[in-house]
């Protein structure tokens, strides 16, 4: 599903990602951990080809970072759902419209949009909020909207970049539960976090980064 082959990338002399070899299988749930600045977000960005490594290559869902042309990257991104720490929701649109956006991009018809959005709202427990605007929701609810938007197109892989970073423990727990449920249905999930407490009692693979290098996987 995802394979990093000796990749390196640097923003400056002091920060970057160095010589990473890593393989993530289908339907796997894994945590990407490490302190702030260790390279978690950069690694996730490399998976959806927002950053292209300077050395080495990555294979993601059949797309290779060296061979995929810039104007074909969107085809890979259609298969990936991304969840951001800062939610990245459109404030002028309702919850329903925010969640429906990836389906419009994929060219889905009205009925499919309605059914998939309802399903995603139900799974994330947001049915009561569908006509609200993001500013009318709590942080936890906004993050659930972000999850619903990521899962609505039934992606093969979900990348979650610190999805619980701005949430209280109860809301964080709820987010993790939803992600686990999605994973049980066969979607691979890679979640970056520095909240060790949240993941410590779970039996999932942990990939640890420090100063841009792999510590353990």
């Amino acid at each position: 599903m995802v394979e990093f082959k000796n990749i390196s990338f640097s923003y400056s002399k002091e920060s970057g990602i160095y010589d990473i070899d890593l393989k993530i299988k289908d339907s796997e749930f894994c945590f990407l951990v490490g302190p702030t600045g260790s390279g978690k977000s950069s690694l996730l960005k490399m998976i959806y080809f927002d950053i292209i490594p300077l050395k080495g290559e990555i294979d993601v869902l059949g797309f290779n970072s060296k061979k995929t042309k810039k104007n074909k990257i969107h085809k890979l991104r259609k298969k990936i759902g991304v969840i951001f720490q800062d939610y990245k929701l459109l404030k002028q649109r309702t919850v329903y419209e925010n969640i429906a956006l990836p389906l419009h991009i994929n060219g889905a018809g009205r009925k499919m949009i309605r059914d998939n959005v309802e399903e995603a709202l139900e799974l994330t427990d947001l049915l009561d909020c569908k006509y609200k605007y993001p500013d009318q929701l709590s942080g936890g609810e906004q993050q659930r909207v972000c999850i619903a938007r990521a899962i609505v197109k039934n992606p093969n892989l979900i990348l979650a970049d610190e999805p619980t970073g701005n949430l209280d423990p109860a809301a964080a727990h709820k987010i993790l539960k939803i992600l686990e449920q999605i994973n049980k249905e066969g979607t691979s999930i890679i979640m970056a976090t520095h909240n060790y407490k949240l993941i410590s009692d779970r039996d999932y693979r942990i990939i640890e980064l420090k100063d841009g290098s792999l510590v353990s996987s």
Partner: protein, 286 residues
């Protein structure tokens, strides 16, 4: 596919409405630029009529010697009338000359001198369609060879000078038009730049969710078309009613091209699409 297209169209309209201030400024900018451009177009369109006007005024006058015989000059007039570049001729006999003199100087030359010294003359009007300076010059040279021709009053080269100046004005006008087009391009491009910067989050979300470059661009294209259409409709109405008022106030007849609306709206959409496309390519790093 139809749903996706409908979504993109509605996104374009929504984005035009949501960015009221930027859209308003863009419409105003297009209105100002295309009002100037449309007015220049009308002036340019009428310049050819101005040349025709001067050419229609192009005549020359042949003064004959006093001893000329009637048969000679009547034959001569007949020959001139057959020439293709001559529209018509007018014989000004001695009495008519005296009347013109009186009208211009207020004196009766016959009363003053006791006889009429004014010569017989023929006024020649050149045809507008077959007007060519070389042909006229050749004709004047030929007329000069007749022994009963005393003098030819010939102002053709003044009109030639005027035409040269009109051509210079047309050249300057073209330079000005290019400058206005460039200015329009820059302003529309910057407006779209501003619009894209304002909606960077929206563009990022589209990108991360797998939107292709075209999917991201279409709403901006529609926004730019809407700005162009509104701006150019207002500028067309402005140009039209400005020249209608101008005509009625000054009692002139500045003509408007029947397809002026098509030129203004079509050209504005073209400039809008081209400049927004360039701006988007820069913003999306294509």
């Amino acid at each position: 596919m139809i749903d996706q297209f409908a979504f993109l169209i509605s996104e374009g309209f929504k984005s035009f409405y949501r960015n009221k201030l930027a859209s308003f400024l863009c419409v105003i900018t297009i209105f100002i630029n295309f009002s100037i451009l449309g007015s220049l177009f009308v002036v340019g369109y009428n310049t050819s009529s101005l040349v025709d006007f001067f050419r229609s005024k192009y005549t020359f006058e042949i003064f004959l010697v006093n001893e000329v015989k009637q048969d000679d000059y009547l034959n001569f007039i007949d020959q001139l009338s057959k020439n293709k570049i001559i529209a018509n001729t007018e014989l000004i006999d001695k009495e008519k000359s005296a009347a013109i003199f009186k009208e211009e100087f207020g004196e009766d030359v016959v009363e003053m001198l006791g006889y009429n010294p004014l010569p017989l003359s023929i006024k020649v009007f050149i045809s507008e369609e077959s007007f060519e300076f070389d042909k006229v010059d050749q004709l004047i040279e030929l007329i000069n060879t007749y022994n009963f021709v005393d003098e030819i009053e010939y102002r053709g080269r003044y009109i030639d000078d005027i035409e040269d100046r009109i051509n210079l004005a047309i050249f300057l006008f073209l330079v000005f038009v290019i400058a206005i087009i460039f200015l329009s391009y820059q302003i529309i491009s910057n407006t779209i730049n501003l619009s894209m910067t304002n909606r960077k989050d929206f563009i990022d979300i589209l990108k991360y969710n797998g939107a292709s470059g075209m999917f991201i661009k279409v709403p901006f294209y529609i926004e730019s078309i809407l700005c162009s259409v509104f701006g150019s409709i207002f500028s067309f109405l402005f140009v039209k009613y400005f020249f209608i008022s101008f005509n009625s106030y000054f009692g002139v007849n500045v003509k408007l091209d029947d397809y002026l609306w098509l030129w203004i709206i079509g050209f504005s959409i073209f400039i809008g699409l081209y400049s927004s496309n360039q701006s988007m390519r820069r913003n999306l790093n294509e």
